[in-house]
Symmetry: C2
Subunit: 171 residues, 2 copies
DNA sequence: GGTCAACAGTTGATAAGTCAATACTTTACA
DNA sequence: TGTAAAGTATTGACTTATCAACTGTTGACC
């Protein structure tokens, strides 16, 4: 019966009756994230700000008054973003952020959130908060904690720094 | 002390010392998905196929020989994709899929995977499989199951149909 | 049979993401 | 000090995603 194995495998692939638990987990994470991004993106859309832009503004707010060098923002972002320069261009166009070259090291550009940017974050918070509640109503506090832990394990298994979007630096 | 509340809140927002468990969960899901998409995207990149394209090819394979109407593909996708037409254009450009108008209802276009598309899926499977194993090595089988369940609850709480990428239809 | 609303896909315009090459500044070191 | 190497952003070329308007087709109703 050995020669039949390839065929069986091909048969299985045609109909895929058994997705493994691992496969389901990976698909579930991606699908859930897609849902969440859409959900929160829709909340932010009327304000003219994208989810990534919002995240960067929160990072800048967390960084405080002196701002943050452009490339350091990337380290703190939820999703990796090579196009950080242009993203901040857009923030600046809206008047939510501004930039200034560092005097000590003229290679560095500090990015800061403006007053208008802070106001935007304040405006956006209530609807975002309620979307949060709505999205999470299927999970108890304990389950949320478990989910966080499992996702950390998932990311940890692939050797990824466990950074958090808007936690301010120690200093 | 009532008048101090707004100020306190503003102070808190500056440094954000306490992200809630819910917030962490949402961020964790998005960040994990970003990581997974990058990981699997990198595996697929040498083959010239994107993650979404790969997913559609699997859906088409699951659909069997008669193929699937264009818009029905969207229902089965992991991530929502308004640009399905052009995505399939690209698949067709590579010779991985083809289309034909339905005779009974000339509005409908059936999309099918080609022999070359099937071969591509076979080629891609081994490296993808090992990426899978690598990504999931931080989670036991039981934990994977728990993760799947929690994510389902998360999505269920927002009223989303629990569809699965490549599960074949009943027929 | 003719008209109209609903349906299935496609196309166009615009925005956003991605990768590689470039400009400018600083540091190391002969 | 002069030159090379590394660091920090930015820009350009290209691909992809997104939303809205459009074409062609069908079915229902008069």
């Amino acid at each position: 019966m050995a020669p039949g194995r390839g065929l069986l495998q091909r048969e299985l692939k045609q109909s895929r009756p058994f997705p493994t638990a691992g496969e389901e987990a990976v698909l579930g994470v991606i699908r859930s994230a897609d849902l969440l991004r859409r959900k929160f993106g829709a909340v932010l859309e009327p304000f003219g700000v994208s989810l990534q832009q919002y995240n960067v503004l929160r990072i800048l707010r967390g960084a405080g008054g002196r701002g943050l060098p452009t490339l350091e923002i990337i380290d703190r972002m939820i999703e990796q973003a090579p196009g950080i320069t242009r993203l901040i261009d857009r923030l600046a166009d809206h008047g939510w952020a501004d930039r200034s070259r560092c005097a000590e090291d003229r290679r560095v550009v500090y990015c800061r959130i403006t007053q208008r940017g802070l106001e935007l974050l304040d405006e956006v918070e209530p609807p975002l908060q309620s979307a949060h509640v709505q999205v999470l109503r299927g999970l108890s506090e304990a389950e949320q904690g478990t989910l966080v832990k499992l996702l950390e394990q998932l990311r940890g298994g692939s050797g990824i720094p466990a950074h958090d979007g808007e936690i301010s630096p120690g200093t």
